[in-house]
Every structure is written in structure tokens, then in C-alpha cells.
Symmetry: C2
Subunit: 196 residues, 2 copies
């Protein structure tokens, strides 16, 4: 077998770890398990990720990239910020209700690392802080009457959506969430609060 490039190896380990962490939770997955699933030597994993904390952090950064990618895709697929907000909720609804999904990986890992000093905790907090700011900006560009309020409401819906989807799947409140988001956006972006 040809020798694999270091970048490929790192990617393979990270993808494997992400799958296992996502499926079973970080604490429940041992490094030995990741090594076996990735089919690499023990040295290699420790060369790329000197400790489990580093690996977990890399895993969470990858999850953050997924969110950023979602923002980009929905921006490209819609014409207005208002439409994009709904598209984001729709994209997350699909993801959160997929079979076997366990909710937001960053939220789950946040729950596993309560210590504020832990890097995983910090990455998760950074993510949600950034996410909230981005939703506020998006609401502002959508000319919402109260951008903060709209952003926060969308954030509540998204966070609720993840939990609900993890438990009930498509039989849950996902469908309700999309219509919910549409109404909330519409109510905040119409020229009057009176709905005819």
C-alpha cells in the first residue's frame, strides 16, 4: 500500500473521531476505539493530535465549520436575508431530524464539559456567541423591527429544534419549526404589525 500523506491521515482520523464522538459522546469513546476504526497506528494519532483534548477541540472546530458552511450555502441559495433566516432553520430541521442524529454536537459536547477552563467548553461558548451575533446581523439586514429580538427568537427555535429532533425525529416539532420561523420572520419584517 502506498504511503499516505500526512494531511490525508489527519483528515481520516478526524472524520473517524467526529463520527464516533457524534454517535456515542466524547467521554464514551476511547482513543483506542478511534485508532482501530481509523485503521492507523497509535503513534500516528498522537503525532497529529497530541492529546484527546486537542482532538476534541479539532472535532468541535470542524462542527463550527459546518455551521459556517450552512450560513454560506443558505446565503447563496436565497435572495434576501429574511429568506436566508428561514432557509437556515429549514436546513437545520433536515439535519436535526435525520435518523440517528443526536442533536447539536457542540451543544452535546458542551454538556459533557462543564468546566469553563476546558478548551472544549470554550470552543462551544465561542460558537454560540458567534452564532447569536450572526443571527442578530442577519435580522438587521432583513430590516427587522427589532433585530436582537428576531435573532434571539430564531436562536431559540434552532436550539429547540436540535433537542426536539434528536428525540422525536421527523415525528417531532420540526415541521412546526419551519412554519414557526416563517411567521416570526414575517411578523418582524412586514411594514406593519397588523396582519391582514
Amino acid at each position: 500500500m502506498a504511503r499516505r500523506a500526512a494531511a490525508d491521515t489527519r483528515e481520516r482520523i478526524l472524520v473517524t473521531a467526529a463520527r464516533l464522538f457524534g454517535d456515542k459522546g466524547v467521554h464514551a469513546v476511547g482513543l483506542q476505539q478511534i485508532i482501530e476504526a481509523a485503521g492507523c497506528g497509535k503513534n500516528l494519532l498522537y503525532r497529529e493530535f497530541p492529546s484527546k483534548d486537542v482532538l476534541v477541540t479539532a472535532y468541535l472546530e470542524r462542527c463550527r465549520e459546518d455551521w459556517t458552511e450552512t450560513l454560506r450555502e443558505t446565503a447563496a441559495a436565497t435572495n434576501t436575508p429574511a429568506e436566508q433566516i428561514v432557509a437556515v432553520v429549514k436546513a437545520i430541521a433536515e439535519r436535526a431530524t435525520a435518523p440517528g442524529t443526536r442533536g447539536c454536537a457542540l451543544r452535546n459536547t458542551f454538556a459533557e464539559f462543564p468546566e469553563q477552563s476546558h478548551p472544549a467548553h470554550q470552543v462551544a461558548v465561542e460558537h454560540f456567541t458567534q452564532m447569536r451575533r450572526q443571527l442578530h446581523e442577519l435580522a438587521q439586514r432583513a430590516d427587522a423591527h427589532d433585530p436582537q429580538l428576531l435573532g434571539d427568537r430564531i436562536m431559540l427555535i434552532i436550539d429547540g429544534l436540535y433537542t426536539n429532533g434528536a428525540i422525536f425525529g421527523t415525528a417531532g416539532a420540526a415541521a412546526a419549526a419551519i412554519a414557526f420561523a416563517e411567521e416570526v420572520v414575517a411578523a418582524q419584517t412586514t411594514t406593519s404589525t397588523v396582519v391582514a
Copy 2:
């Protein structure tokens, strides 16, 4: 020292375990730690809770009782089902934004035990299923136009509230959540969809 009654001992262990589990997560807390914090012998814990799974299950059942208690209290403190729905959201908002709170204990533990066969997983699923049914019933008694829809929306808000409060505390979307719930209830219980 006077000998303690068995019921008191059990309660003391359970309260101690609940605090530690809630603060640090189930996987992160060892039984030795609980024993030391509760100030009891090792035998005693294993007499009351033959395994950690049993203890975790008892912890989650206690959390479910807290929810049931919240339902009772809000029912007693309000005059109409519509008011009760808002009161429930308000009560959870206070709880979820308290300093040091880490979100919904059942939701967090659900994240830690992904295996469907695990009793902790099952208790959590039962809780959310029951909770959703209760919110549907409450919405029905509030004469909502679409009780399922209103119940699901409130559930999204509550689930989102827990996550948001765990991360941002009172600086988060909690205040927005209460007004949000009020509007959602009002829109579903007015005689017309036209808001003056």
C-alpha cells in the same frame, strides 16, 4: 451520632448525587466522589442503589418530578390554561438562567447516553414524550386553534431556553422567550388571527 433512618440516607445520597451529576455530568462523577460528598459508607450507597445505572435512573426520575411539580405550581398560580403555559415558560426561564445552571438535566443526560437500551436514555425519552403530550393537552384546554402546533412551539421555546440559558444566562434570550411565549399563546387563542 444517632443512627439515621434508611429513608433519610437514601434521600441524602440522591440529593448529593443529583447535585454532582447536574454540575459535572454523569460520566464525569465517580461513585467514590458521591460517597465522600454524602459522607456515607460505600456499602450504604450500594445497598440503596445497587449500581450506578440505578442511581442515575433515580436521579432522572427526580428531575421528572421537578417538572411535574412545575406543572402543578403553575396550574395553582394561574386562572387559565393559556396563562399557565406562559407561567411554565417563565418558571423555566428563571431556572435556566440561574448562575451555574447547565441546562435541562434530562437533556444533558440524554446526550451522555445515546444507546437506546440504556435506562437513562429511556427515562429521558419518556420524559420528553410525556412533556410534549402534556403541552398538547394544555394547548387544547387553552382552546388553541391548533393545539398540537401551539404545544410544539412552546416545546421548542422551552428546549431552546434551556440551551440558551446554560450558555448566556440572563444575558441571553430568556427575556425574549417569555414575551415570545406570550405572543405565541395569544395568537393561537384569540378569536381572530388579526391582531389589532
